[in-house]
Amino acid sequence: MRSQRPSGWYAVPAYGFFALFAVLPMLLVVYLSFTSWQGLGTPVPNGTANWSRLIADGEAHAAVGRTVLLMVVSWLFQTPIALLIGVWAAGQQRSRAVLSSIFFLPLLLSTAAIALLWQALLDPNFGIAAGGMQFLGDPDIAIYTVVFVISWQYIPFHTLMYQGAARAIPASLYEAATIDGASRVGKFLHITLPQLRYTLVTSSVLMLVGSLTTFDTVLILTGGGPGTATRILPLHMYITGFSGFEMGYASSIAVVLVVLGTALSVAVMRWSGFRAMSSQQEGS
């Protein structure tokens, strides 16, 4: 019997692009991580020198620490807000459409524009908080400012995911719960949340991997500063590679990032049972 599914050849363009623009560069980076290369001439193999340097590099370790902090705080900050706004926006209120469109606005701006906007707003001499708290200038606060700006940009996206998923929850579940006398909070906790479980997983993976590899916002907003207070791992890689022109060493940092990112998404998928995805809706 002939398969109803499209032939495997349909995937060739996708695989081709993936191989050319993801797999091949990654292999090259792995090769470069075993070389010394200043960006000029030919890379010179130097064994595991980059890797032993990475193991001993306090600055790189600190950058990993900052990256993890950024990831965790971003997730903790974005998830509840996106979830609540998303569920609210899935309702039937009259103001909903207008307000939802306004909440959606940050997503329409480019990252560079957002970073420049907040940089100007938080300018220590001419910004809204001039003379007060130093959101970008205080090494202890700057990373939280970065989290806030990233969240401001991406919460609308996650809100949209939750909104779509919450819309798909059958009304009959809520009707049954109402008949059973469940409260609003009870309905949210026992129907909405469990039904949104897989959306939560998807959104979390995107958030975690996204903040692991976030780069442009931090580069423009703080450049990793003040000092090294917001120099996260991707930025550390960039500065090593494109300011210091130590391409070999930057490549080993890149390999670490690829491995961490892949491991992270695999782990979240595993632990959350995402692979065994099943519908909990009626009729299945």
Binding site: G39, L40, L122, Q134, G210, F215, P234, G244
Partner: protein
Amino acid sequence: MRTLISTGLVAVAAVVSACGTAGPAEPGAGGVKVWALQDPVLNPIEQKSIDFFKSGGGNASLETFGNDPYKQKLRVAIGSPNAPDVFFNWGGGNLKEYVDAGKIADLTPVLDQNSALKSAFLPSVLDGAKIDGKYYGIPMRGMQPVLLFFNKEVFTAAGAQPPKTWDDLLALVDTFKAKGIQPISLAGSQAWTELMWIEYILDRIGGPEVFRNIRDGKGQGWKDPAVTEALTKLKELIDRGGFGTNFASVGYDVGGASTILAQGKAAMHLMGSWEYVNQLGQSPDFVKKGSLGWVAFPSIPGGKGDPGNVVGNASNYYSVTSGSSQVEAAKKFVSTALHEDSYVQALVEAGDVPAVVGVEEKLAKAANSEYTTWIYGQVKDAKNFQLSWDQDLPAEKATAMLTQLQEFFLGKVTPQQFVDAVAAR
């Protein structure tokens, strides 16, 4: 995903460089390819020099790029089939990396054969592109020493005089703090602005030899006691509140350190000579009413360095790539078009101070002559012109040093920790 992109960039750089070993470029239709920085003032003048070259029967074209992308693009392109034939650079250690890789044509024979060319430029500036006794670049624009700018109105209101010595400077810090004015403006989010301070202080205390030893890996290098002494002096200034408290997130772009000075929120600003043109563009009234003042960096009594020494960028240079198929035409371009009268005149009119001998007369006749004549005299009389350290050190060492310096200004590392960290690289 963004990391993947940057990862990809590194890889693409690898591919491009690998292709580069394949062979020299085909002779381009545009003749000599000249690469320079994007600069609304300078670009038309550069175009003029190309037109001049063309009128003499040559053929050339100009391509320009933004600052940071330029450095990256140049890195990848040099040695590839897409390499420029002539490119804009800063001389010093930065250029040395390319020279060491065998990518740059030696211009010494050109200068030796043409004594009129060699004697056209100030020797101290020409030396900025001299590496291991050979010349690899020809100065193509104005000199950019670092000097101390100040707001005359703020000084008059406080009854103060611009500082002549380090102690004057410290006293001024107290004077302005008492008046609620930030004594010194600093664009601390960009490490190169902080670098200017330690460059000058070390030169005044230990003389130019200390940094030369650091650069050449001679003597005690960073462990020279003069370095620690200089850092300690600088720390005193930082801790005293010389730079205020919020410099860490101030930039040098619009609305940054220059604006604070122009608005009288700060009294002084140590910056390269381009600050004048910058202020003229951003706060024209401030400059036109004569409120922008300037002096040389204060002397430090008891120090070994000559108080006339300057630091900064001696000039920018055009260098010729050795792999170019147009080497001879490129050499002809750099040896004829850059000291030629109309080019120099155009630079002067743009407020630049060309590193050309005997340009005083032109400067005196042009606008802003008070300023440009002062700059010219300052550089001409200087016993030593130290190139900015971040340009004079190899990129990896410069990057590590700038990182440590920002931590130092934030008080996160002590002078000793700074020395230990940079000496370890």
